[in-house]
């Protein structure tokens, strides 16, 4: 890329410091001049369509043997876009190395270093020119020492900078051809939730969206450096990763056009190309996978026309239920038309499913074991959701109680939940945490250890469980569970009578010590140890 040409094109006017309209740009330029001569020198101030740019030479503090080829002095450009937004730091060198923690910039732009992973709304509260200088310096220092992978930072945020985000489940991405989708925007219009059309309720503003999903195999992965700006460059990007976008779209779109009546909504939707790609650090190690989406403004039908497989029909008389008809003989791909079709890079957030929950909890393997929790009261209603947020367990909640007003003091339920069965309330809460194809939680309304209609269900649940958690705060229930024929490992959790401590009794995996044994040991501690007295309901000291 030609940095000079980019500078001239994006910031065509060279101005004086007094001409800067961005107060942040002006204070930054003045700060460098007055206070940071040891580090930097302002070379030029520019203005253009992309905002205002403070161009400067910057001493990087690079060590003698830098891990990546950073120079002792780099020329950088700090862009202050119009409005209130995060300053963007470009390194004005066409051969600046690809490293971790760079922002993904548009094609034809220089590389931009990611010096702050906070949102601007938060960062602006403490922003100063001095801090900006410090962050740039810290980035260069860490890059030069190969220490950009700060444990506090995501490995590779690769922020597109467009500000658009969509949220969709992995299940939808995996089954894009089976359902019509819509993107429902939030009130800002920048955050959209992608759901099946069938789930759209009421009169809601929604953007019909057709998703074409691709998965880049790790072996084919090349780190993304620049965000493609149109369908042509997106195809080039995917071609470099072993995916022939146009050939695949020609096949997919032709199938939909052949059954245009069924696929009318899809053909008239915008196209979102969702790419699942491995995240590769600069040292070549895969750090997980991530989704990127590229959304067109054009309809799928228009793209089919450009791909040479469809014609647009002007009126219904000409046929074509969707406003487009299949071309009788496939024509050539109109590359110029495809290049003219802009794509908007969009961040994709996968919904909170078991995999994501597991990863965020710092574990590698999902834990979908069956757990039965007996008691959906104060302690159970806190412990089970916490474990679920870690991606753990498929739950059965057993409780026969209902939520009463005084329960709200400790329970996770709300006022509107009063009179609901605690079993159903908690199971519903657990199911709503994880976006999982399989049922996350089911409820059995029953009292364990007491003869009743649900005995068979309780026994089956306990027998099929891998883990049984007694959260009943009932000795009767605990002893029943301890004695039950299920082979599952048991736990018991409860609060001290004063509510100022929590107790966990855990059987060993081989159940060589049972809950009954643990209860006896626990009570022994309560009776004999001064510090444990408050855990006992009776003052044994007098005996």
């Amino acid at each position: 890329m030609d940095v000079k040409a980019w500078l001239t094109e994006s910031f065509d006017e060279v101005i004086e410091v007094d001409d800067l309209t961005s107060s942040a740009a002006a204070s930054f330029a003045r700060f460098v001049d007055r206070h940071a001569a040891e580090l930097a020198a302002v070379v030029a101030l520019r203005r253009g369509g992309a905002g205002e740019l403070v161009e400067l030479t910057f001493r990087t503090g690079r060590p003698q043997q830098s891990v990546v080829p950073i120079r002792r002095t780099e020329r950088i450009g700090v862009r202050f876009a119009g409005g209130d937004s995060m300053p963007f730091v470009y390194v004005l060198r066409s051969d600046f190395p690809d490293t971790a923690h760079q922002n993904l910039t548009a094609e034809g732009s220089p590389r931009a270093i990611c010096i702050d992973d906070r949102s601007w709304a938060e960062a602006r509260l403490t922003w100063t020119p001095a801090e900006l200088v410090q962050r740039i310096l810290a980035w260069f220092r860490r890059a030069a020492e190969g220490a950009l992978h700060d444990a506090r930072q995501p490995v590779d945020p690769l922020m597109f900078g467009t500000g658009y985000n969509i949220i969709m489940s992995r299940a939808l991405i995996d089954n894009v051809n089976t359902q019509d989708l819509v993107a429902v925007p939030d009130d800002t219009g920048t955050l959209m939730r992608v759901i099946p059309l069938s789930q759209l309720q009421g009169r809601t503003l929604a953007l019909p969206l057709t998703v074409a999903a691709y998965r880049v195999p790790p072996a084919q992965m090349v780190r993304l450096s620049f965000a493609p700006g149109n369908l042509g460059s997106l195809a080039d990007l995917l071609a470099a990763r072993g995916i022939d976008l146009f050939a695949d779209l020609r096949t997919r779109l032709a199938e939909w056009l052949n059954d245009a009546r069924t696929n009318a909504a899809r053909i008239n939707s915008c196209l979102a190309v969702v790419v699942e790609m491995p995240i590769i650090s600069p040292d070549g190690i895969q750090q997980g996978t991530d989704f990127r989406a590229f959304v067109t403004a054009e309809k799928v039908g228009d793209i089919a026309v450009a791909l040479g497989i469809a014609h647009k029909v002007e009126s219904k008389d000409q046929g074509g239920a969707a406003g487009f008809v299949t071309a009788l003989t496939a024509g050539a791909v109109d590359e110029a038309a495809l290049i003219a079709m802009a794509v908007l890079p969009v961040e994709v957030h996968a919904t909170f499913d078991r995999d994501l929950a597991t990863r965020l909890a710092g574990r590698a393997i999902p834990d979908a074991r069956k757990a039965v929790i007996v008691g959906g009261g104060a302690i159970g209603a806190h412990v089970a959701p916490c474990l679920t947020r870690e991606g753990r367990f498929r739950w059965t909640v057993i409780d026969d109680d209902v939520l009463l007003p005084h329960n709200l003091a400790r329970h996770v339920g709300f006022g509107g939940d009063v009179t609901r069965r605690k079993s159903e309330l908690l199971a519903g809460a657990l199911a709503s945490i994880l976006d999982d194809e399989d049922s996350v939680a089911t409820a059995i309304t029953a009292q364990v250890g007491v003869e009743g209609q649900q005995n068979d269900d309780v026994n089956a649940a306990l027998d099929g469980a891998d883990i049984i958690v007694d959260a009943s705060a009932s000795l009767l229930a605990e002893r029943f569970l301890s004695d039950h024929y299920s082979k599952a490992r048991r736990f018991s959790i409860f609060f001290s009578p004063a509510g100022d401590a929590a107790v966990l009794l855990a059987e060993p995996i081989d159940r060589s010590v049972t809950l009954r044994d643990l209860e006896a040991q626990y009570l022994r501690h309560v009776v004999r140890e001064e510090g444990m007295r408050r855990f006992g309901p009776i003052d044994y000291a007098c005996s």
Binding site: Q65, A130, E131, L137, A144
Partner: protein, 376 residues
């Protein structure tokens, strides 16, 4: 703790402070050159700067102070700044103590010294008599006659004498200080032949080797020696197979960028180095190495300063600049950094990736650029 090598803008004068990995501090020369009465004097106020660092470190002493030789530009202000054991006049509040004084034999033997040079000699002689707090850099036999004449027992002081080709005791790469000092000069070859002390050429030349993360960073401290002495050091080192003791990553340039430390002729645009000196500067430098010229700004061609016989010499600087840039290094003049109009002290950090210029954004707390202090 990260080791630092600090330099100070003092005009044509030397001072380097080594902050070692274990917190010890070693000062190489002390030249308080600034005229306090002259507001326009851009040289650094060395006593104040060093005291500020002492206060920050919570100490009132240097572990070692090395006076490479007793020229004014290497020891000016010695008697005002330091606590001297030899006379109560130089003891008092605010004076900085010296745990170990390092001097060349010349600083003990030379007669007719004045001012601070005389005080360095008096202090060195006193400490040698006391048998502690001193290292004399010399061939031991050279001091023997003088010590006998002074009635000082040679044998019991012998361990205080460090000969060329040896390491300064008390500093090892494996210790917490992570540094060793190899002595190149004054060396026996000169001392055997010399009957008259030549202060510059009998000064202390050392290679300080730091280690961090398994990587060595070598600093060559070449005092004020001329090209003939440098060439002799090269010859002796090669003869003993000690070439690696002349490898360097950082070079404190000898004699303030004088052409005389490169070769016999100044040259019109660029000094041509003596072949042995060329080998030292070009073959022994490590990739990305820096040269520090402790000097006034390099004169512009045709300027009055350019005609001066005194260093810095533009022709020598041209040579150093050319080869430094060619080796991805930097040639830093103490009175030009960061700018001629406002020179400031600067430091190199010793890292596992070699040295790095220590830089910090002004007016920002160290933690400001860390992650958000709150999570929720």
């Amino acid at each position: 703790m990260q080791a630092l090598v600090n330099f100070f803008p003092l005009g044509n004068a030397d001072t380097a402070r080594l902050d070692l990995a274990d917190g010890r501090k070693v000062l190489i020369d002390f030249a308080a050159m600034r005229c306090d009465d002259d507001e326009d004097d851009q040289r650094c106020d060395l006593p104040t700067t060093l005291r500020r660092d002492m206060d920050k470190a919570g100490r009132d002493y240097f572990d070692a102070v090395c006076i490479t030789h007793t020229d004014t530009d290497h020891c000016k202000g010695f008697g005002d700044f330091f606590w001297l054991d030899h006379a109560a006049l130089y003891q008092g509040k605010g004076r900085v103590k010296i745990r170990e004084l390092w001097v060349p034999a010349a600083a003990i033997l030379e007669e007719n010294l004045k001012d601070d040079a005389r005080l360095v000699r008096a202090e060195a002689r006193y400490r040698l008599r006391q048998g502690k707090g001193i290292r004399v850099f010399s061939r031991p036999e050279r001091l023997k006659a003088w010590m006998e004449a002074e009635g000082i027992d040679f044998e019991s002081r012998k361990h205080l004498i460090v000969d060329a080709g040896k390491l300064v005791p008390g500093y090892t790469l494996n210790g917490p200080e992570k540094v060793e000092f190899f002595v190149h000069c004054p060396f026996g070859w000169r001392q055997d032949e010399n009957t008259v002390v030549d202060r510059n050429e009998d000064s202390i030349v050392m290679q300080a080797t730091f280690v961090e993360g398994g990587r060595k960073t070598r600093l060559l401290l070449a005092s004020d020696v001329n090209y003939e002495t440098l060439a002799a050091i090269v010859k002796v080192s090669r003869k003993h197979g000690n070439e690696d003791r002349l490898a360097w990553d950082l070079m404190k340039l000898p004699h303030h960028c004088s052409y005389k430390s490169l070769g016999p002729e100044r040259g019109s645009n660029e000094t041509v180095p003596d072949p042995d000196v060329k080998w030292l500067f070009e073959d022994q430098r490590q990739p990305g190495s820096d040269i520090i010229s402790p000097s006034w700004p390099i004169p512009v061609k045709g300027s009055k300063a350019d005609d001066d016989v005194q260093p810095p010499h533009r022709q020598a600087a041209n040579y150093h600049r050319r080869i430094t840039v060619a080796h991805d290094g930097e040639f830093i003049v103490t009175m030009e950094h960061p700018s001629k109009s406002d020179p400031k002290p600067f430091a190199y950090k010793i890292t596992a990736f070699g040295f790095a210029l220590a830089l910090a954004a002004p007016m920002v707390a160290g933690t400001a650029a860390a992650a958000s202090p709150r999570a929720g």
